[in-house]
Symmetry: C2
């Protein structure tokens, strides 16, 4: 858990507004979009709704982790390795991969069926769910907002200070 | 004429393969395209055909200048000013603008009607000609190849050395 908080802390720093603006907006052509699955657009409103449905916090964090990982991979995959945003995106991939190792420890446990189903659809390229074009920065903005929502309870804050 | 050659010399240097690769390929997302008019894809084969139709060399250079200017403007216009390719593209715009001042001196003269018509269509956004998506580097590759074709006669070479 300590390790998980450490990684989230580094991610919060890497995902600062200034970094997102530079690497995900200024270094892309205007109006450039990445096509993602409908489920990969995870907004705070979606998380609030899931909370209302009594989905557990570990399940929500597990969902956020899977969405964020997929989204960052999709952004990296549209970039040549020499692109000035590639290394930044790769660093995010590495951090999320590290987080995945931590999540593996409890993911098999009490995942809500709703979340388990969503995660399955995210990883199923053939799921046939709607796809939509979204700007790279908007994808990371969602990632950050949901991260703050899920990791800002007093208990977590202690670890992140 | 001396000034024209100087600018073309600087353009040749700015449009070196390494620069085009970095600023027009590596700094763009994979498979990114800019939509241009059909007439803005000016290949050496097009120029050869126009030469066969006895179009004069000044007319061909005038056509190349207009196509290149439009293409570079279109690339610049898809970029935020903070994008790492923006300044490079702006420098190309400035050089081509300088070349335009030189071309003004003889453009009203003996422009072939075929070229005059093509240039008119390039600047007429409502012309309704076919549009096509082309990668930024491919657009500048055409620009360079045609430039070499038009400015590599022995007479010009003297000025460019």
């Amino acid at each position: 858990m300590q390790k998980e908080c450490e990684i989230v802390g580094i991610l919060q720093d890497k995902l600062k507004y200034k970094e997102r603006l530079q690497y995900m907006k200024y270094y892309f052509p205007l109006n450039y979009t990445v096509t993602v699955q409908y489920e990969e657009v995870l907004r705070t409103s979606n998380v609030s709704r899931l909370r209302d449905e009594a989905i557990t916090e570990p399940s929500l964090r597990y969902l956020w982790f899977h969405v964020s990982s997929q989204v960052v991979l999709k952004i990296r995959d549209v970039l040549p390795e020499q692109h000035p945003s590639w290394s930044y995106t790769q660093e995010l991939c590495d951090l999320l991969e590290g987080l995945g190792v931590e999540y593996e420890k409890y993911k098999q446990g009490d995942m809500d069926i709703v979340v388990a189903d969503l995660v399955k659809r995210i990883h199923d390229a053939e799921a046939g769910s709607n796809r939509k074009p979204v700007r790279p920065k908007a994808l990371l903005d969602n990632c950050v907002k949901v991260m703050r929502m899920l990791y800002s309870t007093p208990w977590w804050t202690v670890f992140l200070l």
